[in-house]
């Protein structure tokens, strides 16, 4: 058996034993069933929700918001980061503002967002963007600043200027840090969206969790939590690991 498979098996075994522990605690009836749902209840709620489409619809709605918001964050964050890394004046002004604003949990923008955009998709996407684009900007900026000066000199000798220089030297040279920033931005975006959906729910996986709370259906709450974890894990494993492999092949680190 290869090392990879052994490690995978180990992580599956670990999760199964956690599940078993949960089941044991439920058997012991330490807490009332309404406080701690059993794995079976959660499974039934989850499969029912997936079958009748209520949970699926929530996932789709949340994903749509996330892709729009995160996409916007990347579209703003990456070019801004490249500029901040190259321009000291911009860095001292907009850069320090970004550092300051990063200390602000994005959900704090919700009251203003609702005021500006109404109770709408745009308000939630605004919160997502505010939550994630600055961490992407700052990571790209740091990436640009740590590019070996020799790369910049070599590219100037090769004649790269202006747009070509940004597109074919700065951007690819800062890819390793950019990926770290994109990952961080993704997790901020995901958290911001969940917070926004909890506070202002229409359809969405965060709203599903909230309705579980209102109906005192803890099985639904836990089911929604599991879905949130699964989506986060999926993106980390599929998209970001592919990015990491891409970088590993080229940089050889």
């Amino acid at each position: 058996m290869s090392v990879v498979w052994r490690r995978r098996l180990l992580s599956v075994l670990f999760l199964l034993s956690l599940l078993a522990l949960w089941q044991i605690v439920c058997f012991l009836e330490l807490w009332d069933e309404t406080l701690l749902p059993t794995p079976m209840q959660v499974w039934q709620t989850l499969s029912a929700g997936l079958a009748d489409g209520t949970i699926t619809a929530g996932i789709m709605a949340s994903m749509k918001r996330l892709f729009t918001g995160y996409g916007l964050s990347l579209a703003i964050g990456i070019p801004l980061g490249l500029l901040l890394g190259r321009n000291r004046l911009l860095d001292d002004t907009a850069g320090s503002l970004a550092v300051g604003l990063q200390a602000l949990p994005s959900i704090c923008w919700l009251p203003l967002a609702v005021l500006w955009f109404g109770l709408s998709e745009a308000a939630m996407q605004f919160v997502v963007v505010m939550g994630s684009f600055m961490s992407i900007t700052l990571a790209v900026r740091d990436g640009v600043k740590t590019i070996p000066p020799l790369f910049i000199r070599a590219s100037r000798v090769l004649g790269a200027r202006g747009w070509f220089f940004y597109r074919h030297v700065l951007l690819p040279a800062s890819l390793p840090t950019l990926l770290t920033g994109a990952k961080l931005g993704w997790s901020f975006a995901w958290r911001s969206l969940m917070a926004a959906e909890l506070l202002y729910g229409s359809v969405g996986i965060g709203s599903t969790l909230m309705s579980g709370r209102e109906l005192h259906d803890m099985a639904l709450v836990v089911a929604a939590m599991l879905v949130i974890v699964a989506i986060g894990l999926l993106f980390d494993r599929v998209i970001f690991q592919a990015g990491e492999r891409y970088i590993q092949r080229r940089w050889g680190v």
Binding site: L150, A154, V157, L158, G159, V169, A173, G252
Partner: protein, 256 residues
Amino acid sequence: MAVIELKNVSRHFISDSGVVPAVTGLNLTVKDGEFLCVVGPSGCGKTTLLNLIAGFERPDVGKVLVGGVEVQEPGSDRFVIFQEPALFPWLNVSQNIAFGLKVKGVNDAEQKERVCELLQLVHLSRFGDAWIHELSGGMKQRVALARALALDPAILLMDEPFAALDAQTRDLLHEEMEQIWQRTQKTVIFVTHNVREAVRLGTRVILMSPHSGKICREYPIDLPRNRFLEDPDVARIASVIRDDLRREAASVAEGC
């Protein structure tokens, strides 16, 4: 015909201990097709001299002319090869070599053809698809050379390009460098701290003096090609230069 002229060039740096002159009142003429080697103790302004010609730095006083035109900024007519190969890790070997052609907007088919020729020239035909981190130090420096030659610059500026390589690889690259120079007739300025390397490669060696940042001596090298590092004539001339170099270094030590 003179391609590079430095006229009364001075350049200084400001450090914590005050103004440090790197180059003072330097005059130098380099003829077309010359292989000029610059030697001198560390801190004598060798690299500054190269940076001035490359256009990375501007002189405080005096003029740097290339082909009769004053140098304003770096350009692909004066290609710099650094001690570190400075290849781009996000591109493979072929893409690195083609980078300058891509900047110029050369079409794909022509790029491919040119890269193929250059890979052959530097004996790396099998490594076109390799990533940079998979190459040895000598191979990297060959790729850097091919990337420079892709743009067919009239002048190659080399800043201790083989200093980080092992002796065997360096021997091999000396040979290749000599052949490429003979074939392409480029003007080369080659900075090194290795006196024997300078004599083995150059048509002329200049010795820079540390305290004045000037050229203190010149040695035309008329030995026949192809030369070897172990040639008795190479060794003889190198030892003369080395003695002068020691005397220069000693005079600085006394001055302190």
